[in-house]
């Protein structure tokens, strides 16, 4: 092989990926905080959402362990991302979520008992209440990543109608290996769409570690394949996460086009309650990850800033526990659907050809509520 003379090669494009962090794992503030984070009430608000989300999440796991809920996917350790998302989005934006984005859903008006109902296996859980921002939102997409290209259509509708709205398509690290993710990223800039792709990189896709998911050094750089900005953020730093999300949403809303955000976090729980991560994950990795817990971090930060006391903490713990219990009770109170419900939202009007099937179901013995 010949040596190439330098003049035969020229650089035609260059890219970089940046990472944003304001608060480190110990709670130390590393850089001047964004304006919203200079308001202690805002810090307390974010903290409260994270703690309540965790309490509800723990309740769901407890219900599953006692046979009162189906398989459940915990958001333990990832509360900062959902919280930042729920706060950063405007009411009439559209959230196309991944299944650990509970905090964002709660902030947008999904009652937590709906979440429980979803994992119990009841479609009404995805009806979402009228009059809340969640009414615009998509339900979880279990087929990983397949919802992401749908965001292209949603954002296209906003552009067509000249609405100042943004679609936020959220997914995990595993989802970024799929063609679905890529086809959305690759095309979003063709129409300069108001869409933000938010990756919660929690380092694992069930048992597959991030490093074996793709050869890419960062997931943010997958944006480059679509010619759009990609950036990393410390997803356990709720301030940084909210900051980059607000910046991306504002840019998209202002017509500056799509963006990819990789929020780096860690899945502190098993993949779901049906999984046992000890099978494939080293204990010390998990222990180490706990040191970066987003809740601990914000608490330490607030303590340093002098806006959070032991009494505040105790009061919040009690509140959160009460809320989680109330959610469980609300969930228990939901009456089962009638069997014919499996036909009644299938089409706008049930085709005649299906009438006999529906009738058959109505004469069958009534199902019992199971969890």
């Amino acid at each position: 092989m010949s040596e190439t003379s330098p003049s035969a090669e020229t650089t035609v494009a260059a890219f970089d990926v940046r990472m944003t962090r304001f608060v480190d794992a110990a709670g130390t503030v590393l850089a001047p905080l964004p304006a919203f984070a200079q308001d202690p009430e805002e810090l307390r608000r974010m903290y409260r959402v994270m703690v309540e989300t965790r309490a509800i999440d723990r309740k769901a796991v407890a219900l599953q362990r006692t046979g009162q809920l189906g398989t459940y996917a915990s958001c333990l350790g990832q509360e900062a991302i959902g919280t930042a998302t729920g706060i950063a989005m405007h009411a009439d934006d559209v959230l196309i979520p991944a299944y650990r984005d509970y905090a964002a859903q709660f902030l947008r008006g999904v009652p937590a008992e709906s979440t429980f109902l979803y994992w119990a296996g009841d479609e009404r859980s995805m009806h979402f209440p009228e009059g809340t921002p969640s009414r615009h939102d998509f339900p979880f997409s279990v087929p990983i990543g397949t919802h992401i290209p749908q965001a292209i259509g949603v954002a296209y509708a906003f552009r067509l109608r000249k609405q100042p709205r943004v679609a936020v398509a959220a997914c995990g690290d595993g989802a970024t290996s799929r063609g679905d993710f890529y086809e959305a990223v690759s095309s979003a800039k063709v129409w300069n769409l108001p869409v933000v792709f938010l990756i919660s990189n929690n380092q694992w896709a069930i048992s597959l570690p991030r490093a074996r998911q793709t050869g890419a050094q960062t997931l943010a750089q997958k944006a480059i394949a679509g010619g759009i900005p990609g950036e990393q953020v410390d997803g356990n730093d709720v301030i940084a996460t909210r900051h980059v999300l607000e910046r991306a949403l504002a840019a998209a809303r202002a017509g500056e086009g799509p963006r990819v955000i990789e929020a780096v976090t860690y899945r502190l729980h098993d993949h779901t309650t049906a999984d046992d991560a000890r099978r494939y994950r080293a204990e010390d990795e998990l222990e180490d990850a706990w040191t970066r817990c987003p809740i601990k971090r914000l608490r330490a930060c607030m303590a340093t800033l002098g806006c959070w006391s032991v009494a505040d903490e105790e009061e919040l713990e009690a509140q959160a526990a009460a809320r989680a219990e109330a959610v469980a009770q609300a969930y228990f109170a939901v009456q089962p659907e009638m069997p014919q419900a499996i036909f009644d939202s299938l089409y706008a009007t049930l085709p005649t050809a299906l009438g006999a099937q529906r009738a058959e179901v109505m004469t069958a013995p009534a199902p019992q509520t199971e969890h």
């Binding site: 479609e123 009404r124 995805m126 009806h127 979402f128 009414r135 998509f138 339900p139 997409s141 087929p143 397949t146 919802h147 992401i148 290209p149 749908q150 965001a151 292209i152 259509g153 949603v154 954002a155 296209y156 509708a157 906003f158 067509l160 679609a167 063609g179 679905d180 086809e183 959305a184 690759s186 095309s187 063709v190 419900a341 499996i342 939202s345 299938l346 089409y347 706008a348 085709p351 005649t352 050809a353 299906l354």
Partner: protein
């Protein structure tokens, strides 16, 4: 009232519905300036602009997903998939999302979208351009699947499909796109979905088909009429939901049924019709229910595609076989 072929009728329906409802938009590969590889979308770009006539990157999965996203926002996307074999990458989005959003959100999110594609072979096209895709969609709960066989039905059923509040797969008969013309009025009147059309009445046997094979079946009925065999001719038109009432009424009368499909035989659409006859029409049947179909082979390339495709000769032969088993009168 103009004489139109099927592709012109499709084009007219699109034009007409885009004019009537500003929420209707079309998307697909090469559908803008190029007017679509079969010219179904000719003139739409000039009439309605690039925002409503969207040339798509080369990704059918994205086309389906984008159509879903658009439809959830109350738009009425009509997506074109260029050739039948390229529908496979859409199946995931259609089965797992389009066909389900209404049900899984108990009516909150809906997908009033249409996916149009040419279906079937017979035009000496390259590989993967000639597949018959009905079964894949007709087996998916929550969908409608339409397969028009002539210009008037293409027009009227496409209007109905676009206006329908649920996702519709609209499979057009590739080889008949330009095969014959018919007077089609731009009346804006949709034809009913869920309805089979009795195209010709007859007494000796019922011939059932849809899409491109309707044409061969019609010719076979003509040939058989010459021999004194009176065929009732049914165009299924809507494969899902399937209008078995019309087919059963006919078979109750004739006692004999031959179903003609272009798709491979095994687990094809004709089997569903035959199964329904075996269940609900058994007592009326004088003779076995025969299926004339493509073979259970990969769709051959151009040189041998005629070997695969059912044609008048094969339909007539099956009917004669049937009449030998159960002679008329």
């Amino acid at each position: 009232m103009a004489d139109l072929n099927i592709i012109e009728a499709v084009n007219l329906a699109l034009k007409s519905e885009m004019a009537r409802d500003e929420n209707v938009l079309v998307l697909g590969e090469d559908i803008g300036r190029n007017g679509g590889v079969f010219r179904a979308t000719v003139g739409l770009l000039d009439a309605y602009g690039p925002e409503r006539v969207i040339d798509m990157p080369l990704a059918e999965n994205l086309i389906a997903a984008m159509a879903i996203g658009l439809s959830t926002q109350g738009l009425r996307p009509v997506a074109e998939i260029q050739f039948s074999g390229f529908l496979y990458p859409c199946l995931d989005q259609i089965a797992n999302h389009a066909a389900r959003y209404r049900n899984r959100t108990r009516g909150r999110i809906t997908c009033p979208l249409v996916i149009r594609a040419p279906n079937g072979g017979g035009i000496h096209a390259p590989e993967h351009h000639s597949e018959s895709m009905e079964t894949f969609f007709a087996h998916m709960p929550g969908l409608r699947v339409i397969a028009p066989s002539n210009p008037a039905r293409a027009y009227g059923l496409l209007l109905a499909a676009i206006r329908d509040p649920d996702p519709v797969i609209f499979l057009e008969p590739t080889r008949c796109y330009r095969l014959f013309k018919q007077a089609v009025e731009d009346s804006g009147e949709a034809l009913p979905l869920d309805t089979a059309f009795v195209e010709r009445e007859g007494t000796h046997l019922t011939l059932v088909s849809w899409g491109a094979m309707m044409h061969e079946t019609r010719l076979a009925a003509d040939a058989l009429a010459q021999e004194g065999v009176s065929c009732e001719l049914i165009d299924v038109a809507s494969l899902k939901p399937l209008d078995m009432d019309t087919i059963l009424a006919s078979v109750t009368k004739t006692g004999r049924c031959v179903i003609v499909q272009e798709a491979p035989r095994a687990y094809g659409p004709a089997s569903e019709i035959a199964a329904n006859l075996a269940e609900h029409g058994l007592l009326s049947l004088f003779a076995p229910v025969l299926r004339v179909s493509g073979y259970d082979t990969v769709m051959p390339l151009a040189r041998l595609e005629k070997v695969y495709l059912p044609d008048v000769r094969r339909i007539v032969a099956e009917v004669r076989k049937l009449l030998e088993l159960a002679p008329v009168g």
